[in-house]
Every structure is written in structure tokens, then in C-alpha cells.
Symmetry: C2
Subunit: 307 residues, 2 copies
């Protein structure tokens, strides 16, 4: 009954500590010091090497260290039948919703613009931007929370998801064919989708061409959702007026990437939501106990959907 | 039955136009071309010269061009008994609430910080700030709206006002003696007060000394609420961690003012709420008709309170 932490290139000492605070008797190993691989029944993963998880013959749970699981499904050689779980954290959800609202307000109120003027001691009042229509792509836990937040704040909110979702005061659309219609009126297009083969590159020239001219993009999904060249072209053409990006295909973003100094792009270093280690440890421990006692797991991923 | 627009140093052509769109027969004059002063019964003012309003013998209404009326009471030689009105505009209120929420989110999420890092192509993720307690000074229309907004967004909100106000889910305080207690737990102190002799310089070293160490100040009241030297000292000592200021004693802020390049001060050029001209014109016209027909005025100011 051993837990393995399999998070290459991460400092995991805080995770080990948080688990030991909950239960001092837990046996926790840290990859690559796995010991006998047949001891391992529960693995906590982030960005593991492809094929690695097949090497543990008694594995019963694969637990993602975050809300996303696309890093797990990147592995095309996963052991079949082993259930996968993700973190669902109220604080993480709130943080993500705050990020979306904060970025929209920042843009409407021109706060970053005024900071730039301030540096040059320029007093240049302008009207706040008026765009009031927000389209949320993705209506899972975080999308629903963001929809509620933004509705209360007075925004007109629409939402799109793969399967049908109904949310009060929100105009919802579902399925690939309705994507263009969902975003057609939006001043702000917000990507909160899980990354799956269906959603990869969803933020591309086809989508931008269906947006209202001058729409603003916010990507807090994954870097893989965005076709970067298509965004640069849409910004150059003025079809999109700007973008705030929190996630990238390669992180940290390489020094020479054109996004760094693009005047219409704001970027944050994947901070829209950070997994709270204590909260995560609590959920890992709960599922570890569920596994031992043969009870159903919490926050289990639907493998057929990929999220 | 003539309306005078008395707004020195302002381009008022849009105001004249907005009034004429409502009623082409309105007689509107623009100061200093007053014509016969005894014709004037209704005056729309912003920053008028002291003593000027006494020169109109038949004046029946003094209408402020904004939500604030401190610019009127600066005139120590006002005609007695002439009622004063202000603008109460739902959009203006919402804009102000958005500003408060937007500035708090900006600070919590470090958006401006990340913009500075971006300029240097530095990838430096940090945890979001955790401060969750907001104290609103001033619980009029705007304060109430901000309280509701911030409560829904998950903040813990307290409020202080001169006279007692009760707001659901908000801990309220009133009267000078309770000011220190009201702000003592706040991570964010937000000034939404009207400027009166009682509230002038309320943001001073006494108040800062009673704040939680490292609190953040947001001033969207008036420049006269803030003792500027006391703020600079509190920032230097670390008693206050930063400030976002939208209003100043002298506007535009003079080129050589130390606020421009202070690393802990963000400033916006009095844009937290801009009067919507069409909305204002509608309210002026309504009160002009009320005056003619001897009906009660809307949005009348309590002269004894000064707001």
C-alpha cells in the first residue's frame, strides 16, 4: 500500500510533507526512487514520461496533481482500466473565476494602459470600454462559477460546451456546429475548456473569423487550445483586438517567443489557478482510503470524454 | 425659463446638444454668455467661481454635473434656499463598483506586476495575494452597490459611514469614533465618501496607524480626502503596502508630483466614473420640468449634510 509521487522536474517536498501531516504512517516514495514497483498502488502524477505508468503492475489509482488531466492522456501507452482522478478545489475554482473577472475589468478599465501612461507622467483620461458580452468556452465547475460571477457583475453571458448544459441567466450552446454562433456576439471570449483531441487548436483562424471584430481573447485553458500563428495574424488584421494568455504550449514561455513583447498580448505565467497543496493532499488521502476500502473514488475522470 | 451651463474650462457642446435632442425648444445659454441674468432659473454647474451663483436673482435649481457636490459647497457664498441636485446614474454606480472590484483583483492577481515582468521577458509565477477583507468608507448608493458586488465575489466586507446603515452580509459601523475599529481588519480600505468638512483629510496618519500593517488603499472619493504626505510616509514605513488613486487635490496631477513615479502607487486619471452626458441631460430635463410644474425635485442634496 504505497503512494508514489511521479512529478519530474518539480520540487515535491511540500507534497510529501502535506501527506505526512495527515497520516504519519503513510508510505510515500518519490520517483525515480520507486523501490519495488509492485508495491505502488496509488500514483500522484504531473507530466510523467510516456509508458512509465505501465510499469507498476498493482496500480489502482492515477491521481492528477491538478484540475487538468490532459498531461495524463498525452501518454498514449496508459495502463487500461486504472481509474484517473483530478483535483476539484473550491478555492482553485474561485481563483480562476477571479482571474477571468479581473482580466475583463483590467481591460475595460484600461488599468494596464494607465500604468504605462503613469510611467511617463501622462494624464490621459479615456472612457472605459463598453463591451459587455462574454462567451465562456467550457461549462464545467469553473465555467459555471465564472458564469455566475459575471452575471452578477452585470455582464451578459453566453456559454458553449461539448455536451448540453443549462445555467440560469446564461445563453448556452453545445456541440461543434454551434461554436461560431456562441461566440458571434462576444466582446470577450474566454477559454476554460479541458484539453482533449476535440478541443485542441479550437482557438484558431476559423474561430477568430466568426468572432465580432475587435473581440478580446482570454485563454486559461491550455496552451494546446491556441493556434499561436493564427492569433498573431488575427491581432495583426485587427479581427481580434487583444489577448490575455495564462497558458502556453511550452512553459516557461521561451525567451525569444513573439508573445513576450507583443503590444496587444498580456501574459501571466500560468498563475490563474495554482493547486493548493494542503487541499490536494486531503483529496489524495481521501481517495487513497477509498481505494483501500473499495469505496467509489471522488473526482474521477470520465476516460471516454477525457476530462 | 432659461437653463445656464456654468462649467468653466469644459467643452460643453455635447451637453447643449444632448439637452436639445430631448427638447428643441429649450433655451440653453453657456456661461460666460449669460445674457440677462434674471432669465436664468436652472443652472448646471461644475467648478463655478465663488460668488457667481448669487448673481442670478431668479435661480430655482442648482444642478451638479456629477455625483459629487463638494465643488458646489466650496463656494462659501452660495445663494441660500436654492435647492441643489446631483446625478444618480445606475451606469455610473456600476462603473464605480467595477473599478473597485477591478483594482482589488488587479492587486490580488498581480496583473500589473506581471505586465512589468512581461516587458523584461521574465517568467516569474507567484501566489496570488490572499487578503480577503475589504472595508468600504461611505455607504451611499455606490458603497451599497460595491458591498453587494464584493460580497458575491467572496470577499468579507465591512463598511463605515457617518450615519447608521444596515446592509445584508456586511458588518457596518458608523460615526467618527468607530472608524478605527471599522478598518482594523481590512486588507483593502476603499474611500467612496462624499467630500465634506467632516471627511476632508480622513485618509491621514491617524487612520493609517489603525489599519492592519500592509493594508492597501483605494481612493475613488476626492483628492481632498487624502493627506498626501501622510500616505507617502505610511508607504515608506510599510504600514500601508500600496495605493490606487483615481482622484487628486490638483487635477490633472502636476508633472512633478511624487505620486507619478512612486513604485507603490498606481494612479488613474479620474476615470473611475465618468458622467454619461445623455443620462445627465435626461435628469436635468426631468428636474427642469419638476421645477416648472412645482413638483419635488429628484436626487436633491441634503444641504445640512453636504451630500
Amino acid at each position: 500500500m504505497t503512494i508514489l509521487i511521479l512529478m519530474p522536474d518539480r520540487n515535491v517536498s511540500e507534497v510529501v510533507q502535506a501527506l505526512n501531516v495527515i497520516d504519519t504512517d503513510l508510505e510515500v516514495r518519490v520517483w525515480p526512487d520507486t523501490g519495488d514497483k509492485s508495491d505502488i498502488e496509488f500514483v500522484i502524477v504531473w507530466d510523467h514520461p510516456t509508458g512509465e505508468l505501465k510499469k507498476y503492475p498493482n496500480l489502482k489509482v492515477i491521481a492528477s496533481f491538478g484540475a487538468g488531466v490532459d498531461h495524463i492522456f498525452k501518454d498514449t501507452d496508459l495502463p487500461k482500466q486504472v481509474p484517473i482522478t483530478k483535483i476539484v478545489d473550491k478555492n482553485l475554482t474561485r481563483q480562476m473565476c477571479e482571474y477571468v473577472a479581473g482580466v475583463i475589468f483590467n481591460h475595460r478599465l484600461r488599468l494596464t494602459e494607465y500604468s504605462e501612461f503613469q510611467a511617463a507622467a501622462i494624464w490621459a483620461p479615456k472612457e472605459a470600454r463598453q463591451g459587455n458580452n462574454v462567451c465562456l468556452l467550457g461549462l464545467g465547475n469553473i465555467g459555471r462559477c465564472a458564469a455566475e460571477y459575471l452575471t452578477v457583475l452585470g455582464f451578459s453571458v453566453s456559454g458553449w460546451s461539448q455536451s448540453r448544459k443549462d445555467i440560469e441567466n446564461v445563453t448556452t450552446f453545445h456541440g461543434e456546429k454551434s461554436l461560431g454562433k456562441a461566440i458571434s456576439d462576444a466582446d470577450y471570449i474566454v477559454c476554460l475548456l479541458p484539453l482533449t483531441p476535440n478541443t485542441e487548436n479550437i482557438l484558431d483562424k476559423t474561430l477568430f473569423s466568426k468572432a465580432r471584430k475587435g473581440a478580446y481573447l482570454i485563454n486559461v485553458g491550455r496552451g494546446g487550445h491556441l493556434n499561436e500563428d493564427d492569433l498573431l495574424e488575427a491581432l495583426y488584421q485587427g479581427q481580434m483586438s487583444g489577448a490575455c494568455l495564462d497558458v502556453f504550449r511550452t512553459e516557461p514561455l521561451p525567451d525569444d517567443h513573439p508573445f513576450w513583447r507583443h503590444p496587444k498580448i498580456h501574459l501571466t505565467p500560468h498563475t490563474a489557478s495554482l493547486t493548493d497543496i494542503d487541499q490536494a493532499a486531503t483529496q489524495f488521502y481521501e481517495n487513497y482510503q477509498n481505494m483501500k476500502d473499495n469505496r467509489p473514488l471522488i473526482n474521477q475522470v470520465d476516460v471516454t470524454k477525457g476530462y
